[in-house]
């Protein structure tokens, strides 16, 4: 087997779910200016929901249902908490997301307990061998699901009128209101997309692990390097950032030290913050002075 090629493939797989969660994060950031530290806890929530539903129903059904419930809870968080913090100084909402994250972690721990749950692995018996690269059914399905979701989100933002209004609202809430855009429902929509992305990312990740555990909350923190690398403002950037960090991850694990993967990922983040804070695809500022 060819270690190098396999590592690249593994990196892409890891990158796919990182990208998915990063996309949700960026959409939320752009339209609400909330830097959501709770994103990985939404992943956790979605995954536990999935594990529960997965025991009863077919996994695609469980996936959709789990994502749906996560969306509802994300929207609730917006409705109960974040909505009322709009306009507070920038870091207040961030601290609030700390709170939401802790709340979610606690709630999951309380209702589901600490046991690790086994989830059904899709296409368990299928693996392909493309040249020297091994591809499992789970990886394939994960790749497809995340890819489809990302494409859907991007197309929605690019083509649909609501997506356009979302971008407009992201730039200027007051003007959007004056132009008669449904600003409130747009914010809700942003949270919904964020929640769904988190759930989908978490679930596809878990399906490739075959087991779901509490540490997912920490795992999700790898999305931040991806987001910063992509430049926080650009969905496409988030996707590329996710893939890049996934590759870094895979190579660190294969060739260096599995314990260093977080240190490595965040080292990348740190370098970007210092050298290129606007990231690879940071927003260009269209303003004539």
């Amino acid at each position: 087997m060819n270690v190098f090629l396999n590592t690249i493939f593994n990196g892409i797989i890891a990158g796919s779910w990182l990208a998915a969660t990063a996309v949700g994060f960026v959409v939320l950031w752009k339209s609400t200016k909330v830097f959501n530290f709770a994103q990985s806890y939404f992943m956790l929530l979605g995954t536990y929901l999935f594990a529960t539903l997965d025991a009863k129903y077919a996994w695609p059904l469980a996936l959709i249902a789990a994502a749906g419930i996560t969306v509802i809870i994300a929207v609730l968080c917006h409705w109960l908490f974040m909505r009322n913090l709009v306009g507070a100084s920038l870091f207040i909402p961030v601290i609030a997301t700390f709170g939401i994250g802790t709340l979610l972690e606690g709630a999951v721990g309380l209702f589901w307990g600490p046991d690790d749950r086994q989830v059904s692995v899709p296409l368990y018996n299928i693996h392909y061998r493309v040249g020297d690269v091994h591809i499992s059914g789970a990886q394939l399905s994960g790749l497809c699901i995340t890819a489809v979701w990302i494409v859907v989100v991007i197309l929605f933002l690019r083509k649909s009128k609501v997506g356009l209004q979302m971008r407009a609202t992201a730039e200027n809430h007051s003007l959007a209101g004056l132009a008669g855009m449904p600003v409130r429902s747009i914010l809700v929509l942003a949270w919904a997309i964020a929640g769904a992305s988190a759930a989908i990312a978490g679930i596809t990740y878990t399906q490739q692990q075959g087991i779901e555990s509490f540490d997912l909350a920490n795992v999700g923190l790898l999305a931040f390097p991806a987001i910063i690398m992509g430049g926080l403002e650009s969905v496409e950037g988030a996707v590329l950032g996710g893939l890049a960090i996934g590759l870094v991850d895979a190579f660190v694990i294969t060739y260096w030290d599995p314990n260093a993967q977080f240190a490595a990922g965040y080292l990348v983040l740190f370098l970007f913050l210092l050298l290129k804070p606007q990231g690879l695809f940071g927003e260009r500022v269209y303003d004539r002075v």
Binding site: S213, D215, I253
Partner: protein
């Protein structure tokens, strides 16, 4: 200006509420000062035959959070033991009572829990966290508290001046390593040619230490570099890739289920694993397929209002745990708890206030006569590989005045043929 700055949020805008909080905390202090001890889950001394005062065992382990999947089974084992003992006349008529506290795998919290449980009348402590025990050695010594730990710190076996109150129920790394090496050689059988033995461990300190203490495999074999897998690892395929890339002819792992399952999966995805493979598991580990049912049973039982059927179910489990066979998957992670509980009970019994290692070790011998089936266990991975779980109990041998393994507590020798395929009666 400054008034406003300090004045607008939190406590200072809460001056009314603060009084409330103060009252609340005062109330809380009062409640404990009055000595209302927590009503621990899993004490059912409702049995009329039990006279004497309850033997209380403090069990500060992680009941919630990421580490709980390691510690819970120990707690369950202890509680099962208490249940079992209390339904068999207790310890000389004394009911056994387990005081659980959620240490959240945090040393400071667990240290506080020790003190709390002792203030609640605990006679002994069963710990899940070797760092916490290490941090409190002097405290245990000064208070003469017998402490039983699942840790693998070898220096704790031979009762020395420092560790006279600390007893471990699992084998030390140094003793385990040669056994495993011997086991691998045996498993490899004829083809003992040159080659690498892959070595994977959980990134928790004790597992890493375990790996470090593994000596040379010998006879042309050598270890590949140790890979310690953090439980938060995002990508197990890469680990599998790098392991398979080294083309090892055998593998030794000390992983948790959270790491084991995805690793197995990843191995399978990349062509699978057919060579000998030894896995050492912490007490917490269990076959994932069985976990839900077992936990369900225990959960029922933990509810203080215990309904007849669930009690029956648990009694059955307890019996099963008492007479575990070496291929019984559920039994092992009861047994770890049972060993601890048994060790502690007998320790307390022979201690009676002035606890000495001598007393506890004779206690362990009693334990030996009381218990069967505390032994190395095997489980099958999702890819049908036999993983050997290993656990041993040491006892004080007064003749050689040294720590000796209790002979019938070790079983490291299933037939090499059982490395591939399934065990009989093993659902896969």
């Amino acid at each position: 200006m400054e008034i406003q700055i300090t004045g607008n949020t939190g406590l200072f805008r809460w001056r009314r509420c603060l009084h409330g909080l103060a009252v609340l905390s005062a109330l809380l202090i009062a409640t404990t000062a009055c000595g209302t001890s927590s009503n621990p889950s899993g004490t059912n001394s409702a049995n009329g035959t039990l006279t004497g005062s309850a033997y209380k065992i403090g069990v500060p382990c992680a009941l919630s959070g990421p580490d709980a999947n390691q510690d819970l089974p120990i707690v369950h084992g202890m509680e099962t033991y208490a249940y079992y003992a209390n339904h068999h006349g207790g310890i000389n008529g004394h009911p056994v009572q387990i005081l659980t506290d959620d240490s959240q795998a945090d040393v400071a919290t667990e240290s506080a829990d020790y003190k709390k449980e002792l203030s609640e009348g605990a006679l002994a402590i069963a710990s899940c966290n070797s760092s916490a025990v290490a941090a409190n050695v002097s405290y245990f010594n000064s208070n003469k508290v017998p402490v039983v730990s699942t840790s693998t710190v070898s220096s704790w076996y031979a009762p020395g001046a420092n560790y006279s109150y600390i007893f471990s129920v699992s084998p030390s790394n140094e003793e385990l390593a040669p056994l495993m090496v011997a086991y691998i050689k045996k498993a490899l059988g004829a083809n003992q040619g040159g080659g690498k033995v892959a070595r994977l461990v959980d990134s928790i300190a004790s597992a890493v230490a375990l790996a470090q203490s593994w000596s040379q495999v010998g006879s042309g074999l050598s270890f590949s570099s140790t890979q310690s897998i953090p439980s938060t690892q995002t990508d197990y395929s890469s680990t599998a890739t790098s392991v398979l890339g080294q083309h090892p002819i055998a593998m030794m792992t000390a992983l948790t289920p959270v790491q084991q399952a995805p690793f197995d999966l990843a191995l399978q995805n990349q062509g699978g694993w057919t060579q000998p493979w030894i896995g050492i598991f912490s007490a917490g580990d269990t076959d994932l397929k069985d976990a839900p049912s077992t936990y369900a049973a225990l959960r029922y039982w933990e509810t203080p209002t215990e309904s007849a059927p669930s009690a029956k179910a648990l009694y059955a489990l307890a019996l099963k745990a008492g007479y575990a066979s070496s291929t019984d998957l559920e039994s092992f992670w009861f047994s770890a708890g049972w060993v601890e509980a048994g060790a502690i009970i007998t320790a307390m019994e022979s201690c009676k206030g002035t606890c000495t290692s001598q007393g506890v070790d004779t206690g362990l011998e009693n334990l030996n006569s009381n218990f069967l089936g505390i032994t190395a266990q095997s489980r099958t991975t999702p890819t049908n590989h036999i993983i050997l779980n290993s656990a041993r109990v040491y006892a004080w041998d007064s003749s050689t005045s040294s720590a000796q393994p209790l002979s019938n507590f070790i079983n490291l020798d299933p037939a090499p043929t059982s490395y591939t395929g399934k065990i009989a009666g093993q659902a896969s």
